[in-house]
Amino acid sequence: MIRNVLRWIAQRRLTITFLLLGMVILLFILIPLAKMIFTQSPSILWDTLLDGEVRSAIWLSLYSALIATAVGLVFGVPLAYFLARHSFPGKRLVEALIDVPIVVPHIAAGIALLFIFGQSFFTGRAFHAVGIDFVFAVPGIIIAMLFVSVPFLIDSAKQGFEKVDERLEKVARTLGASPWQTFVRVSLPLAKRSIFGGSVMMWARGISEFGAVLVLASYPTIAPILVYDRLEGYGLDYALPVAALLVIICIIIFVVLRTIAYRGERA
């Protein structure tokens, strides 16, 4: 009996070892999040939610990130399609460039954006002339979120388009569809899951952005900055409920939308 069990284990040494190592990292992710959420009494969470300052910060985060995602869709999806369908010298360089915002420190990204969209540079002044200001304003929050989170959307959309068989597009052309119609009726519907998945990633990443926004527009206050302000100003007890609430909202959005995005697809 014991020998059988030992043999069973011996045959699965690799699987068991990897499973144990994997569990460590899984718990490392899970425990802090769970502890933060579940040590808060529901009544405190409820009171926090009723706090006007908290609500407007969370709302600002949600919709700024949503607008950033919409802008990302308009400009990023065409780029993704172009990259999926064309090869040219320096393509790898362009693809690497797209991912740079993910790897640079976000505070540095914020400073870089401040240079371009602040009033000291002509782009900032040009926008100012038409009534759009970025520093200490919602547009600043949006471009900071856009900058750091759009790579997720572009990468995902590009992979989606690459999976669409080019011959489907060719057949569509022979059937009388123009290049635009082919894109709208064939390529886009077939890549929509990847585009939606990428949008969810981008939105979630936008909501959680802190560093770049802090530099460009620490006011109006988005939720992560509010958490930071309360931590600095009043201490952990005041920061914790807001942080917990933010984590809960992010998890709900992320899990629900991801489930929708990958519905029907095998894990």
Binding site: D165, L168, V171, R173, G176, A177
Partner: protein, 348 residues
């Protein structure tokens, strides 16, 4: 009608050069060539899906060389069908019709007619990924026909099918062509397919059209080494299959009766691989075998192996090694026996 003049297409590592073709209205035209000969690219060039380096293409008298694919009126069927996976069978068939802004009732009528023509009426609400290979091929064919194309381009339409399905779809292609008289260009590497379907055949090799002619001309009068080698890979006969007196099935070719195994009856084609034929000086007797006496009319040297042509009649091309040629002391004009199993003959 399609006319191609002096077409050159750059394929990166090699060229399709100086392609000249003329396909008559209503003709079933086969382009036969080995894998990698550029057959798909030639079809894509006709459809406007591949940039052309030089040359001109006319469809029904209008020059389309620089015309966008959506304006050419060309039906295209790819080897693995390329059905739109996000659309039902019906919406696949409607795709081209919707682009033409036809009234809804008219579109529905066309779909109904096509579905009936190809026997896919019961599949209309299904999704393409629930269909078998043969069903997918029929849907792809119906979709290509939906736009009433000036020319139908078929890219290896039977290659992805299993042998049984292939025979059925091949019959279907023949019947549909018979009914619609649709000008068709069909590319394949399978010469049995070429013979069974083609009014005329063009052999494509080394980036050029090497020979154009009826199946008979191509296989009995190849004009080049390449075509001959391609044609010589099998013996091709035309004949008639009947039930024999003792329950056997016989194929009569040029007055000679051969025993065969097949479900088909009537006028057929038959093929026999040269390597399936045994050559001997004395008759080999066995009830399951065909054994005929004939005269060696030519010997073609291919290095280690040689091709003998033995006239019984009909003419059989047989493969022998140099060693057996020497051992049996075979020479032109000599008499030999050719022997092969009934099952070695493929009837189609």
């Amino acid at each position: 009608m399609i006319e191609i003049k002096n077409l050159t297409v750059n394929l990166g590592d090699f060229l399709l050069e100086e392609i000249e073709l003329r396909v008559e209205k209503g003709e079933y035209f086969i382009i036969l060539g080995p894998t990698g000969a550029g057959k798909t690219v030639l079809l894509e060039s006709i459809a406007g899906l591949h940039p052309i380096k030089s040359g001109k293409i006319w469809l029904d008298g209008r020059e389309v060389t620089r015309l966008e694919p959506e304006k050419r009126g060309v039906g295209f069927v790819y080897q693995d069908y390329a059905l739109f996976p996000h659309l039902s069978v019906k919406d696949n068939l409607l795709f081209g019709l919707k682009r033409r802004r036809q009234p809804k009732e008219e579109r529905e009528m066309v779909v109904e007619w096509l579905a009936e023509l190809l026997g896919i009426s019961q599949l209309l609400e299904r999704s393409p990924d629930t269909l078998s290979g043969g069903e997918r091929q029929k849907v792809a064919l119906a979709r290509a026909l939906s736009i009433s194309p000036d020319v139908l381009l078929l890219d290896e339409p039977l290659s992805a099918l299993d042998p049984q399905t292939r025979e059925g779809v091949q019959q279907e292609l023949r019947q549909i062509h018979h009914r619609l008289k649709q000008t068709t260009i069909h590319v394949t590497h399978d010469f049995e397919e070429a013979i069974a379907l083609g009014d005329r055949i063009a052999v494509l090799g080394e980036g050029r059209i090497l020979q154009v002619g009826t199946p008979d001309e191509i296989f009995h009068h190849p004009n080049s080494e390449f075509v001959a080698r391609f044609a010589m890979t099998r013996n091709i006969f035309a004949g008639e299959v009947r039930d024999g007196a003792r329950g056997e099935v016989t194929l009569t070719v040029e007055g000679t009766e051969l025993e065969v195994v097949t479900e088909l009856r009537g006028r057929v084609h038959a093929s026999l691989r040269p390597e399936d034929i045994l050559i001997s000086k004395e008759p080999l007797s066995s009830s399951a075998r065909n054994s005929l006496r004939g005269t060696i009319t030519s010997i073609a040297d291919r290095g280690a192996t040689l091709y003998l042509t033995v006239s019984a009649p009909p003419d059989f091309v047989c493969l022998v090694t140099r060693r057996s040629l020497d051992e049996m002391n075979l020479a032109e004009g000599g008499e030999v026996y050719v022997t092969f199993k009934a099952s070695a003959i493929h009837i189609f």
